[in-house]
Amino acid sequence: MFNLKYKDDFYKLILSVFIFGIILIFLTVVAVMLYYSYPAIIRYGLPFLWTKEWNPPKEIFGAATFIAGTFMVTFLALIFAVPLSLGIGIFLEEYCPAFLRGFFTIIIEILAGIPSVVFGVWGVLTIVPWLRDSIEPFFEKHFSYIPFLKVEENIGYGILAASFVVTFMILPIIASITKDSLASVPKIIKDGAFATGATKLDVIRDVSLPHAYKGIYGGIVLGFGRAVGETIAVVLLIGNQAVIPKSLFGVGYTISAVLANTFTFAVISHIYASSEVELALILLLVSLIINLLGRNVLKRVIGGKFSRSQFGGG
């Protein structure tokens, strides 16, 4: 493979060491997760995924509460973020005047660069008081008969606060991919539609969106992947109680929050640490599968292009 007589082969050899470095990093992540979670996987097996109890002193570990919390926060955030970011993508690509487009796009992309701890602080000092003082009393007064909207503790913290903040963290990803996908619609098709007398809405609905929906789907999948792994903002906002939230305003716990809060204490006990690593393994597998799905779709629609928003701000 390498013939060191030629200078280029030596250069190639050195560069391929770096390539092996990257492969090594990836394999190390997967190997560490598998190796250290192995005792817990053997001991608890598949029921780990649907056992609700998490009791370190009795060595009973089940992740159901945390998995439920994670997916509730993620889906709530997606419910808020998808319509918003579709609107933003459509606005930026179709309705926005050309001379403002660059500036408006930067505003949305800068949102992707804001560190999650700053989002968390903003949530604690802005969103939580707002929910506690305005939103929750309102729902308590008028909608308390709907079980899903019942306010149990009027404290502001909970899955709603967490998903509000996560919404703004995944919004730039979905919005910018929506914008790129809409931009990839050939202009001639759109002009054809305009020539028949269609309004902009008709063109967006009947031409652009059907053409771009795969890219938008890929963006939503990537947003899902980011929301699942979101840690610091969620730790600060979710309330950190190991219960499955029964209402929108309930407190909960997510996988990433458990890891952030208790992993360093867990290390004292072998099986406790192993269970925590199994939680991390779940996160890892979910993120790998999600990204595999999302990237494959995106590669076909907008090529291998990266927009700034796809790399988060931590």
Binding site: I25, P83, V121, F168, L171, L292
Partner: protein, 313 residues
């Protein structure tokens, strides 16, 4: 004489036979306007947090935003009630330098390999791995960093909670970003540049040295800045690899090797039941946002400038 006036007849026919439903057109126009308003509202809701985050960080923390805050170590009780955030700024520099020492050679080298020597198979595999690594949650990187670098038991490097462990973990996060963007930058160079160098008898190393690095400089810098931007706000990996230090580090490994970190400082201050520390967390958020926006703007300027330079040549 008796020939009919063609234009007139056509016009009349057109007007007589073409059905126009004025109500229908009006309705579609109204729908279009409603859609426009909804899109604008969505954009305003999406753009609002950017301004409100900066505004609230400034309005709460403005009285701490002075030179004293940036240039002194935290003191007082609870720790940080007096003094500033110098430990965090110095610690961030430590972490960025250590992460760069790992990520720059690894990322730029791999990027060059992929675009200069790559074949279709290996390129798609490495690209996929990088894209997957970008998507791995930061808390998982933290767990991996703890077991590989930090812990003093079992396998691993036994660095302890230290700048080296934290910095290398951040380097793992930074590497795929730099690789992807370096590859993209080199692929964007017109093929004739590299082919021209090679046809003059240059080896690929010489071509890299004299052509690729210069032409792709902007893209590579964009990647580096994006990587730094990404790790400067990371908190979750540092929880398990470097935690926090209120003073200056005495080394980069072992006891005393931990460094402060701006994101970590904010995370710890906001947990404390003390109003002063909450205000200081907001002030520190403002400082962090300042760095993040400066990097972001610098990145955009570099991208713009290199595009201009390309057009110039």
């Amino acid at each position: 004489m008796n020939e009919p006036d063609k234009n007139k007849i056509d016009k009349e026919d057109f007007h007589l036979n073409f059905p126009i439903n004025k109500g229908y057109i009006k309705r579609r126009k109204i729908y279009n306007n409603i859609a426009f308003i909804l899109a604008v509202v969505a954009f305003i809701i999406g753009g609002f947090p950017v301004f409100h985050i900066v505004y609230s960080a400034f309005i709460v923390g403005y009285k701490y935003l002075n030179w004293h805050f940036i240039s002194t170590l935290p003191t007082g009780f609870p720790i940080g009630a007096q003094g500033g955030i110098l430990n965090a700024i110095v610690g961030d520099l430590y972490l960025i330098v250590i992460a760069s020492c790992l990520a720059l050679p690894l990322g730029i080298g791999s990027g060059f390999y992929l675009s200069l020597f790559g074949k279709k198979g290996i390129n798609s595999i490495i690209r996929l791995l990088n894209e997957l690594m970008v998507g791995i949650p930061s808390v998982v990187w933290g767990v991996m960093g703890f077991y590989v670098l930090s812990t003093n038991a079992g396998l691993g490097f036994h660095f302890g909670f230290s700048a080296l462990a934290g910095g290398l973990t951040l380097g793992f996060i930074m590497t795929p970003i730099i690789t992807l963007l370096t590859e993209q930058a080199v692929n964007r160079i017109p093929a004739s540049y590299i082919e021209g160098a090679l046809s003059m008898g240059a080896t690929k190393w010489q071509a890299t040295k004299s052509v690729v690095v210069k032409a792709a400089m902007g893209g590579i810098f964009t990647g580096i800045l994006l990587g730094v931007l990404n790790i400067i706000g990371q908190t979750a990996p540092l929880l398990f690899t470097n935690y926090y230090n209120t003073g200056m580090p005495t080394g980069i490994t072992g006891p005393g090797g931990a460094v402060g970190d701006l994101a970590m400082l904010i995370f710890i201050y906001i947990h404390e039941p003390s109003r002063i520390l909450h205000y200081k967390a907001e002030a520190a958020s403002f400082v962090l946002l300042f760095f993040v926006f400066a990097l972001d703007i610098g990145m955009r300027l570099i991208t713009r400038l290199t595009v201009k330079i390309f057009e110039f040549f």
